[in-house]
Amino acid sequence: MTAYINGIGLISPQKTAEGKDFLTEIIEHNADYLKCLEPDYKKYLDPLLARRLSRLIRMGITSAKLCLDQAGISMPDAIITGTGLGSIEDTEKILGTIHLDKVLLNPTPFIQSTYNTISSQIAINLKCSGYNSTYVHRSFSFESGLLDALMQLEEKSAINVLVGGIDEMSMNHLSLIRRLGHWKMEPVNNLEILKSKTKGALPGEGSGYFILSSEKNEKSYARILSVKTIYKPDSTDEVEKEIRNIITSAGLTMQDVDIFLTGMNGDQDFDPIYYTLAEKLFTDKTLLYFKHLCGEYHTSTGFALWVAANILKRQVIPPVLIIKITPLTNIRNILIYNQYRNVHHSLILVAA
């Protein structure tokens, strides 16, 4: 399976929505989480519609539009979304009053709280009656969507698939997950998470849509060769085996991987897994990370895919990503490796 990335729309805590610069100006965040820099929606959405839609759905439709505009495509053949939490803001509106028997429920947040609203609102907006689906499995959500998209292309039931990963953070969700000890308790500057030496991640959010196509064109960034998810591996040896497997199955050798792009998030309990594998498998390779720029969220690998696609197209590695660099003349293959709390591991192999 191989899919060309022919357009990207990314709304993130960095200046990515314009789609021009590649991490030339880095935004520092000193808050509890990394919040998206949202574009002026008036440019992309009918103001009436924009007011009616909740924030996540506005972000989703807009990033999908940015992606389609960049790819020069008005009608994709399929729309697929991965989201760990859907419109959590709408769900929380309902949960806030649901225990009060006398209070009637407002239909708008009810409708928008169902996870498929993003994909279907994009479809309604484009009048796209093609294949439409939504994956909602924690840190496998975006990867499941990618896998579906790759199969669509292979089945030849689609030439251009719009596939995205989208999640938002809310104040309630932030505090709930903090109760579970998954977030850092102390304030951290996002650019210093690897120095924190504490437990927990710095949360974030983002919405990234991609046009994956069976056809290469002058807009193509890179190719996705393969996607793999690994659930609760017995040990890092099992992850190592899967890494070797995904690379050899793509007809490459370990030496062909130029960059190991990892989901390190500054959690002292789980980051060692990345270092262990990097040292064992990619000793003399370039080691990068990205979550200090977007934060931890279920579909953060959408941000990582944007990073990998831009590195391969521009043949440039922005210094902010670097943990360790080996000088390269030609960047050919990047392996994205993400894991969340050693439960959900995923690999995305991207080639120039």
Binding site: I79, G84, L85, G86, T91, I94, L95, G96, I98, H99, D101, L104, L105, N106, P107, F110, I111, S113, T114, Y115, N116, T117, S119, S120, Q121, A123, I124, L126, K127, C128, S129, G130, Y131, N132, S133, T134, Y135, V136, H137, R138, F140, S144, L147, D148, M151, E154, E155, N172, S175, L176, I177, R179, L180, T229, Y231, K232
Partner: protein, 401 residues
């Protein structure tokens, strides 16, 4: 030749039975699961008929054969019960040669516990163990951990077509050679969220639902879980399995019309049925029976009915909606109705569309109203349509040896 997808195991818990055998008995007796809320009447106080799973939490733990412990939602428990039944029904054993996946569907996961304890989540630490039941993946992972499935795991949420899309995705993964065997289906517990939400949309019938009837007045909600085991030809051969039927066609389309209403002409329904037929390579005339989505809402039944007329022309197969039996089990409906469709093939029967008496003036056909036995049923189409216009159709065919 594309890889074939065989179905080797079924498991179901719904308002008409806690397992496959009880379900079959209710079907044979035309016994509906719809009634007043009784098992959780202290909590779900809405005065509308529903099809409740006839179990307390304690009963569900017993049926799931797990010791009571905190952290299980009703969604997860029902999912475990049905998935385990399907797994056992297929005589499944783990083998390093077989890559097994779990593809599960749910609309709001463990909402039953989440809505109950949400104020605790916000204000104290007493119910933290349930915080993670909030999302859709929780029940999937509980099922996978219990069955020991690890090769592939995902969760799909496309409203009321969720588990039909789970079957479709599972079938495609086998066809692509990515998995040999997939446990797939969906689970959804009735909650205040569902009852209040659908009520806010004013689409709950005050009486048991009456699909395809001129007097229909909305949905009757149900709850339950249903899972199927799909296997590749190689996988079936190595284990010499019983084959219940074959999944030969699937189609997914989006209406792209409105977030909560079907288009007047049912274009999404037409497209998903057409895609499924095209993939199966069959002529419309070969379909013996359509297990319709048939919710009983004004709009769905017209749209679906017109789409059936458009696709099948003069040769409309027998049609019924089985939602008057099970209620609308939302995310689980696609898998539950797939199982009922397969039972029709296995037992050569057509299930009645209960509660029907007055034909709709918009349609030329009426649904089957009495249980038909000993009729040839070789090919069945099952429709599942969801909010957001997420429409999916599946086609099952009898396998003759």
């Amino acid at each position: 030749m594309p890889r074939r997808i065989f179905i080797t195991g079924l498991g179901i818990i719904s308002g008409i039975g806690n397992n496959l055998r009880e379900t079959m008995n209710s079907l044979l007796q035309s016994r509906s699961g719809i009634g007043k809320i009784s098992y959780r009447k202290n909590y779900l106080t809405e005065d509308v008929p529903v099809s409740e799973v006839k179990c307390s939490e304690e009963d569900l733990f017993r049926l799931a054969d797990i010791t009571y412990s905190e952290g299980y939602s009703r969604t997860a428990l029902m999912g475990i019960i049905a998935a385990k039944e399907a797994w056992t029904h297929a005589n499944s054993v783990h083998s390093p040669e077989l890559r097994t996946g779990l593809i599960s569907a749910t609309i709001v996961g463990g909402m039953d516990k989440c809505e109950l304890y949400y104020q605790d989540f916000l204000h104290n630490d007493s119910r933290n163990i349930y915080i993670n039941t909030y999302d859709c993946a929780d029940s999937t992972e509980k099922i996978a951990d219990l069955l020991g499935i690890r090769d592939f795991l995902t969760t799909i949420s496309t409203a009321c077509s969720s588990s039909a899309n789970a079957l479709l995705f599972g079938a495609r993964m086998i066809r692509h050679g990515l998995l040999d065997r997939v446990v797939t289906g969906g689970t959804e517990a009735l909650t205040k969220y569902h009852l209040k939400g659908f009520n806010a949309l004013k689409i709950l019938d005050e009486e048991p639902c009456k699909p395809f009837d001129a007097r229909r007045n909305g949905i009757t909600l149900g709850e339950g879980a249903a899972y199927l085991v799909l296997e590749s030809e190689e996988s079936v051969k190595t284990s010499n399995k019983q084959i219940l039927c074959e999944l030969i066609g699937w189609g997914n389309a989006c209406e792209a019309f409105h977030q909560t209403a079907s288009s007047p002409d049912g274009i999404g329904a037409y497209l998903s049925m057409k895609k499924a037929l095209d993939l199966s390579g069959l002529n419309p005339g070969t379909v013996d029976y359509i297990n319709a989505h048939g919710t009983g809402t004004d709009i769905n039944d017209i749209a679906e009915g017109l789409a059936i007329e458009r696709l099948f022309g003069q040769d409309i197969p027998l049609v019924s909606s089985t939602k008057p039996f099970t209620g609308h089990t939302t995310s689980a409906a696609g898998a539950a109705e797939a199982i009922l469709s397969i039972l029709c093939i296995q037992h050569q029967m057509i299930l009645p569309n209960l509660n029907f008496s007055k034909p709709m003036k918009e349609l030329t056909f009426t649904p089957v109203t009495k249980l038909l036995r000993n009729v040839p049923v070789n090919t069945v189409m099952s429709n599942s349509f969801g909010f957001g216009g997420n429409d999916t159709s599946l086609i099952f065919r009898r396998v003759t040896r």
